[in-house]
């Protein structure tokens, strides 16, 4: 039994699709909106902007997050900026160009219609954020400033120092707090979603655990919106916040929602290299640094000299050499892969040999140290704090690290999954970035989904649900709540010998090795053997101390790692099934003579959406084929 996936893409010319769709969408009248209860899980850019806007429209919203305040969602950590096709720099930008760059950057594995809508809405996002008081950088004349980011040749990135995510999130958070004050949104911080509740096949509620008291209960609603972020922490070490997890989307997947392209993960080229096994997370150095920093390694293998002792002619500025048109500004997947390549050749730098130089000496000579300090002062400070090295004097050492996940729950043009009523926004869905995301476009997508798309598309579902209220008294709610409780009791009763962190670290090392920057069939098959064994050991030998009815961080972590141990298998399976290289998914068997990703458009120009089929059963693969009417499929070139 194979499901047919309908992405519900509106007909008509690309530039008219979104306005046409809005015009034809169903509406919920203002006096009816308070009758609809909506659950929003997540308070990052996507969740906070959605909850605030839906509350403002008059819906009755409940919003959940696991942090102690919605303001602390992982979006807060975004440094570099947010894209918009404003063309304020008069450098030839346009909605079409942003659309085109994003499709090409994603290596032709995203939907044209979604990406075009994103590019269109980018204009409204900046207007909205500026009106809310987001203090974007400005020029002396008082107008908004821009900078450029990897993978494009125009300056369309808006930024607030190195704290763009923080300022955008605070804008959305403040709008959310206003709605909370108005009584349209009720906020549940320190509350974790453990499961999704379906009634007659529709998403009608969630099971949650209060992380302070340990109490487990359920909430019913007319529709459920997940905005729970990405799953990068499946790799244990990543640039994501410690709490980022796959639980909400994975639980929804096990209830029937399709998981799309789980193997599309982004490895960011500019992170501080790993220094030891005690390390809990990796730190990103903003991509904007590549605007002024030059990437190089010694030409000679194992060169023991310090960087200042290596003359220019003995340095390999490999990105400038291989990609003269884009140089250090090639997209992330390409920059990362090339860093790995030179390190694999034995030319890596630093104590572990897993690092390349990002050198600012030429930029300092050209612009002066004070200009560089003004541009990146806080990043240089952060670098010094962590590594004890002064990047004004000696080049930074960087290495790629897991950063973002393009895969996520499958959604249609309305951002609804195949499970009626379940909608997914932001990094948690798969929708707009294909096989590789361009810098400064995740913030754009989160806010587009939350402020502008879902508030209008959700009515298409709600209009069919008048008078069909679910209640937490229904047996479906009781059953799901009971399952969640049993699972927690089971975790606490194992009392084995290994800590949760030990399992998480082992899993991370395995998937980084086999399903990281480069993958091949043999390694993936090996991982697919090892993961179930690891999972079995986890359920026999994990040690979770304490009690379920209290604040218990080890228990929170255990639940998340248990889900990563299931999810990791799907990620590797997806990587194995996709017999091509595209964007961040690089299969060693499929590369061009020059070592670039070799796509196979004939067989793989599709979204791979996986349907859960039960434990120990291979999931079903359902394909949504991608059509390209406005962009020509071509070999991506940044030369």
């Amino acid at each position: 039994m194979s499901m047919i996936l309908d992405p519900k893409i509106p007909s008509g010319p690309l530039e008219k699709k979104w306005s046409k769709h809005r015009g034809e969408s169903k509406l919920v009248a203002p006096n009816n909106r308070p009758k609809f209860d909506l659950i929003v899980v997540g308070s990052g850019l996507a969740g906070a902007s959605a909850a605030a806007t839906l509350g403002e429209l008059g819906y009755n919203v409940k919003c959940f997050c696991f942090q102690d305040s919605p303001r602390r969602a992982h979006s807060i950590a975004a440094q570099g900026g947010i894209n918009a096709a404003k063309n304020y720099q008069n450098d030839g930008d346009s909605v079409f160009r942003l659309f085109y760059d994003t499709i090409k950057g994603g290596d032709f594995r995203s939907r044209e219609a979604n990406v075009y809508r994103l590019a269109e809405i980018s204009l409204n996002i900046i207007d909205q954020c500026v009106a809310q008081g987001v203090p974007f950088a400005r020029e002396y004349g008082g107008l908004l400033a821009n900078r450029s980011f990897g993978g494009v040749q125009v300056s369309r990135t808006f930024y607030a120092r190195g704290q763009t995510g923080q300022q955008l999130l605070l804008g959305a958070y403040q709008a959310l707090q206003h709605e909370i004050a108005e009584g349209t949104v009720k906020m549940y911080p320190r509350t974790e979603m453990l499961d999704l509740v379906l009634v007659n096949g529709h998403a009608k509620g969630i099971v949650v655990r209060n992380l302070v008291t340990g109490e487990i209960n359920t909430h019913a609603a007319d529709a459920v919106i997940l905005a729970t972020g990405g799953y990068g922490n499946v790799f244990y070490l990543s640039t994501n916040a410690k709490g980022c997890n796959v639980t909400a989307t994975w639980r929804a997947h096990k209830r029937g929602a399709l998981f799309a392209n789980p193997c599309f993960t982004q490895i960011h080229p500019t992170c501080i290299p790993v220094s030891g096994p005690y390390q809990a997370k990796l730190t990103l150095m903003s991509e904007s640094l590549r605007n002024d920093g030059r990437v190089w390694v010694p030409k000679k293998k194992g060169d023991p000299r310090s960087p200042d002792q290596i003359p220019k002619e003995e340095r390999d500025y490999y990105l400038e050499r291989k990609y003269p048109a884009f140089g250090n500004l090639v997209p992330r997947d390409i920059a990362s892969r090339n860093a790995k390549e030179v390190c694999d050749q034995g030319r890596g730098v630093g104590p572990s040999g897993l690092g390349v130089y990002l050198d600012f000496s030429d930029a300092i000579q050209r612009h002066g140290e004070s200009t560089i300090r003004e541009r990146y002062g806080n990043l240089f400070e952060m670098y010094q704090n962590i590594t004890n090295e002064n990047a004004y004097k000696t080049p930074m050492r960087i290495y790629p690290a897991v950063h973002y996940t393009m895969g996520g729950l499958w959604v249609d043009y309305n951002l609804m999954t195949n499970v009626p009523g379940l909608h997914v926004l932001g990094e948690a869905n798969f929708s707009d970035h294909g096989a590789n995301r361009l810098g400064a476009s995740a913030l754009m997508q989160g806010l587009s989904d939350g402020y502008f798309v879902i508030p209008s598309t959700i009515a298409n579902y709600l209009a069919t649900q008048m008078g069909k209220k679910a209640s937490t008294e229904q047996p479906e709610f009781k059953a799901a709540e009971n399952e969640a409780r049993c699972r927690i009791n089971r975790l606490l009763s194992i009392k084995g010998k290994k800590t949760v962190t030990t399992f998480h670290r082992e899993l991370g090392l395995l998937v980084w090795d086999k399903c990281g920057m480069a993958r091949d069939a043999q390694g993936l098959q090996e991982a697919l053997q090892k993961i179930p064994a690891m999972r079995a050991e986890f359920w026999e030998n994990v040690n979770v101390l304490g009690d379920g009815a209290e604040f218990n961080q080890a228990l929170e972590h255990a639940g998340r790692v248990a889900d990563f141990l299931e999810f990791a298998e799907l990620m590797c399976l997806d990587a194995l099934e996709r017999n091509e290289s595209c964007g961040g998914h690089f299969r060693l068997e499929f590369q061009t003579k020059e070592g670039e990703a070799l796509r196979d458009d004939e067989h793989y120009c599709h979204v791979a959406a996986w349907e859960y089929a039960g434990p120990h059963t291979r999931p079903n693969l359902i394909k949504e084929s991608l059509g390209f009417e406005y962009v020509k499929l071509s070999q991506r070139s940044y030369k």
């Binding site: 605030a52 806007t53 942090q67 102690d68 305040s69 919605p70 303001r71 602390r72 992982h74 807060i76 950590a77 404003k86 900046i126 207007d127 909205q128 954020c129 500026v130 009106a131 809310q132 008081g133 203090p135 950088a137 400005r138 020029e139 008082g142 107008l143 908004l144 120092r161 704290q163 995510g165 923080q166 300022q167 605070l170 709008a175 707090q177 206003h178 004050a181 906020m187 911080p189 302070v212 916040a241 410690k242 709490g243 220094s275 030891g276 005690y278 390390q279 809990a280 997370k281 730190t283 990103l284 952060m382 962590i386 402020y451 508030p455 800590t499 962190t501 101390l545 209290e550 604040f551």
Partner: protein, 250 residues
Amino acid sequence: MNFKLKVWRQKDGASPGSFKDYDAKDVPSEASFLEMLDIVNESLAASGEDPIAFDSDCREGICGTCSLVINGIPHGPGKGTTCQLYMRRFADSDTIWIEPFRAAAFPPIKDLVVDRSAFDRIIEAGGYIVVRTGSAPEANSLPVAKHDADLAMEAAACIGCGACVAACPNSAAMLFVSAKVSHLGLLPQGQAERESRVIHMVRKMDELGFGSCRNHYECEAICPAEVSATFMARLNQDYALASAKKVLAV
């Protein structure tokens, strides 16, 4: 490196707490303070003792989740947050005291974790500019002088961690409130609600049990986001003006 830790343990808000001694052994000097605690927690788990509860998330100094008073100083020695503190700042075999942020408005939850949701209540009272989604004018139609925008950004940099309250002998939240009032009040977009904002936020702050500011400036000294105390003067001015206008009903 090895350290002697004196850590505040408290089962929950209703139970009393006390300091307990722990040894942190074989900690690499490149480890962060929180990684040091992770190492200790791993060894506690092995010996069957409940791990020490502490808050953290981004571990990059931006989310404001981590807290801790280390040797009497919120976020410990040096600038920045606890998660950005590295063990190389300490000497081998140092004794380190670790406590939660303490303030009446931040009730304890467990060990080193406290409830800082009072800050959310203050923002709810008026820390925003109301803009109906989709009704905003074109972004460049209202230029903002670079100086004002930069200053607003300095105030907006507050990470809401609560260290200012923990550092203040009176547990005042003035620096936090002044940062938001100044961020929004410095921008042309924030003028319409400027007076009601400051009045409501200050009232809420008082109501929630934060103390009053006696100009100790401990808050400015420890603020990891380097929010300047001059914003407090701005808050006082705005508040005085708004209150006077209210009394005179002009």
